[in-house]
């Protein structure tokens, strides 16, 4: 497959990744998502302290042509945002797994059964790419 899918991460059906480290979840967009968007020129980030629910819009990404929502993959509270992306939104294209969007504090023991593992996500990408 031409798109990188990292092992050990969880994925949404809307092409976000989530990296669980205890109660802190780092979220970003997948390689497939950045390739579909191409040329991200602006990100409207969430606010620190903002409460979010999985499936809700957390940020807005804009490419030259389109406006796209970035959805939260977990329930929790935004505790950090990647301010580098405000100046360099192109990092989302260049290094999608390095260019995290936000860090979200979740309740201890929180799980989201709707998230996909890397194999399930790879199958989803393959299916979408074949369409």
């Amino acid at each position: 497959m031409k798109w990188e899918i990292r092992k050990g991460l969880k994925y949404t059906k809307t092409h976000e990744w989530a990296d669980f480290k205890g109660d802190l979840v780092t979220v970003g967009i997948t390689d497939y998502a950045q390739d579909m968007l191409k040329d991200v020129v602006y990100i409207e980030p969430p606010e620190i302290g903002q409460k979010v629910q999985a499936g809700e819009s957390l940020a807005v990404l804009e490419s030259v042509k389109a406006v796209t929502d970035f959805y939260a993959s977990v329930d929790g509270e935004v505790v950090e945002i990647n301010e580098t992306l405000l100046e360099q939104p192109e990092l989302l294209n260049e290094d999608p797994y390095g260019a995290w969007v936000a860090k979200i504090q979740v309740d201890t023991g929180y799980e989201n059964p709707n998230l996909l593992d890397e194999d399930e996500y790879a199958a989803l990408v393959k299916k979408e790419a074949d369409q």
Binding site: Y42, E44, E62, S63, V64, L86
Partner: protein, 368 residues
């Protein structure tokens, strides 16, 4: 939805892995490598665009000039062999049917090049107005159109022909040119603000011309980049050219879009003249202004423009400009608000963002 139309270059776009989208009933490439790369290539080198979705109508006969004088706002009597002009077509109420190019073979034969999405509507409108002594025919299905745009266009195109292209002036055309052995019509026109040409040929020859042009770069510097509708829209907006559906429509007159130069009140009668004359005398209630976003974000069509509590207009087109590295847009504002240098606010997802009113165009060839 009806089956989408495909241009003769459709297979090329698929092979080049472009993103294909619906546009005006056609399945068209919106981008190949990406809009930013394609815009830079057009400004710095040259890019190739498939614009075969555009419509082409032939107007022939002893009454051709008179007919066009009646349906167009611009004055075609100034045209002679090999010249081209731009003109809106208006309804009697002054709203715009379409904005088109008119190629003059001679005063009894013209080619009209119309927007793809308006093609059927235009043909019906023009057919209704056609008079004895004028024959209108639709050549769209037998015409492919490729645009080559950018400073390297001349050298790239010249490598395929002996015709003296450097002598072809802006808004002029040569009806018969042999390009790599294929009979074409070539004009020095475009929708990007750069030097460039538009190439008309038979649909079954389009792919070979396209391939030959993409190959030209191998010997003479950087190769040509295929560019999609995404780049085309950014390029035209950077040089403030109107897009039908955004800056022109049935509800928007050419005067409101700032196209005074293309409305000839001195030529005599034309459809829409009375309404436009009245609008000119009474003064416009809205006019097009250039905006540069000062805050972060991207201006988009439909965003409201506000001053204090009041909505003073709406964004008609907006984008991120890769050439200027900022977001630019055009907006219809109340004329008394159009003061270059002034700040207004644009509502982006319910938040006011600061934008400056600027003179247009945003970009001029060679200015960066």
């Amino acid at each position: 939805m009806a089956e989408l139309l495909k241009t003769p270059l459709y297979e090329k776009h698929v092979a080049l892995k472009s993103d294909l989208v619906e546009y005006g009933g056609w399945l068209m490439p919106v981008q190949y490598e990406g809009v930013i790369t394609e815009v830079h290539s057009t400004r710095c080198s040259a890019a190739l665009f498939d614009t075969s979705h555009m419509g082409e109508f032939l107007v022939e006969g002893a009454g051709a000039t008179e007919f066009l004088q009646e349906v167009l706002t611009n004055d075609v009597s100034v045209l002679n062999e090999g010249r081209i002009i731009y003109s809106p077509i208006c309804y009697p109420h002054g709203g715009t049917v379409d904005d088109i190019l008119i190629y003059c073979y001679h005063p009894k034969k013209y080619l009209l090049v119309v927007n793809a999405a308006n093609s059927a509507k235009d043909y019906a409108w023009l057919s209704e107005k056609v008079r004895p002594g004028v024959v209108l025919s639709d050549l769209s299905a037998e015409t492919a159109l490729i645009a080559i745009q950018g400073p390297n266009s001349l050298s790239a195109l010249q490598s395929l022909t002996d015709a003296p292209l450097e002598q072809l002036r802006y808004y002029r055309f040569i009806p018969q040119v042999e390009l790599a052995g294929v009979n074409c019509m070539v004009s020095r026109t475009g929708y990007t603000g750069e030097d460039g040409f538009e190439i008309y040929c038979a649909p079954d020859k389009a792919a070979s011309i396209w391939d030959k042009l993409l190959e030209t770069g191998d010997d003479c510097g950087p190769s040509l980049t295929p560019a999609g509708l995404g780049a085309r829209d950014v390029l035209r907006l950077e040089v403030s050219l109107p897009l039908y559906g955004n800056e022109l429509s049935e509800k928007i007159t050419p005067l409101e879009a700032g196209l005074f130069r293309f409305v000839s009140f001195k030529k005599g009668f034309f459809i829409g003249r009375e309404a436009l004359q009245k609008q000119k005398e009474k003064g416009l209630t809205r006019q097009l202004a250039g905006l540069v976003l000062q805050d972060r974000g991207v201006l988009r069509k439909g965003y409201p423009v506000i001053e204090g509590e009041n909505e003073i207009g709406v964004v008609s087109s907006g984008t991120y400009s890769p050439t200027l590295n900022k977001s630019i847009g055009m907006a219809f504002l109340a004329p008394d608000k159009v003061t270059p240098g002034n700040l207004v606010e644009v509502m982006i997802r319910n938040k006011p963002r600061s934008a400056r009113i600027v003179n247009m165009p945003f970009y001029r060839r060679g200015s960066q």
